[in-house]
């Protein structure tokens, strides 16, 4: 129950879902960069090559966020069901003075409200974030964490070097 409540609260933090997508994509690039490092590339070149191989990070991230925020057919059906329950509950509540019927109305309203909130919370997936959100690390080794831009003797950046080598 606590985890559901946690999810619900996190869902209201719009940035949380976006951070989650970013973390996942950066994990991929970090792992690929490590693999390239093991093949003998420098940390900068490994990162540049991994990033190039990955594709347009911003575009992919935007696409994932857009897809993640879309509602599926099942969610839509549930939403319609909860809306109907809510309206029915309100209708019973205002049109009946009998105690037992107003209780039914209250129950329907409560089911609709909690159901909708849970649907909203679950949209971002089963995620638990740590209390403080630190800037993402790419998981490269210590020397490469800061990834300073170094130029070679031809004045090329790591990206330009990797691109030239791929050709």
């Amino acid at each position: 129950m606590n985890s559901h409540l946690d999810l619900l609260l996190k869902r209201f933090d719009r940035a949380a879902f976006e951070c989650e997508v970013e973390e996942e994509l950066k994990f991929h690039i970090g792992m690929q960069a490590q693999a390239y490092e093991r093949q003998g590339l420098t940390p900068e070149e490994a990162f540049a090559k991994a990033a190039l191989r990955f594709g347009d990070f911003t575009q992919i991230k935007t696409q994932c966020i857009r897809i993640g925020k879309q509602s599926g057919v099942r969610t839509l059906a549930m939403r319609i069901l909860f809306t109907v329950a809510f309206l029915l509950g309100v209708l019973i509540r205002i049109s009946s003075w009998e105690f037992h019927l107003t209780r039914v109305g209250d129950l329907l309203i409560m089911i609709a409200v909690f159901g909708s909130l849970l649907l909203y919370a679950k949209r971002s997936g089963p995620t638990v974030f740590s209390a403080e959100r630190k800037p993402f690390q790419l998981g490269l080794n210590k020397a490469s964490d800061s990834l300073p831009l170094s130029f070679d003797d031809k004045g090329r950046t790591p990206f330009e070097r990797v691109r030239a080598d791929d050709r």
Partner: protein
């Protein structure tokens, strides 16, 4: 080296992902690596294109995800196949067989 890698047909990436996840639950990077190994670099599978497909498949209920610790103890999102995903895999596999047979037939007759 001549460029002999073929672009992936639309929709086939989902089939590859579903098949990859039948063995075990994996993170996105693991799925990408497994697909690259399996297709032996003959197909051009962009690493980044995997993620929109994963998110779409999760929306459709074919796969489910949860965060866990990766092999190097980093936080990673793991995907696993759902029952709907297994059904989808068998349906898509049958469909793929049919399409490939049909195309082969046309190519052989022409």
């Amino acid at each position: 080296m001549a460029n002999t890698r073929t672009d992936l047909m639309q929709g086939t990436l989902e089939l590859l992902i579903l098949k990859t996840l039948t063995r075990e639950h994996m993170h996105g990077y693991g799925i990408a690596q497994r697909i690259h190994e399996a297709v032996d670099d003959l197909l051009k599978v962009e690493d980044g294109s995997l993620y929109p497909a994963l998110y779409r498949m999760e929306k459709r209920g074919w796969i489910a995800s949860e965060w866990g610790a990766s092999e190097n103890n980093r936080r990673a999102k793991f995907y696993k196949l759902t029952r709907a995903g297994r059904q989808q895999l068998s349906a898509q596999s049958v469909n793929w067989e049919r399409i490939s047979q049909a195309i082969t037939k046309v190519l052989q007759s022409a």
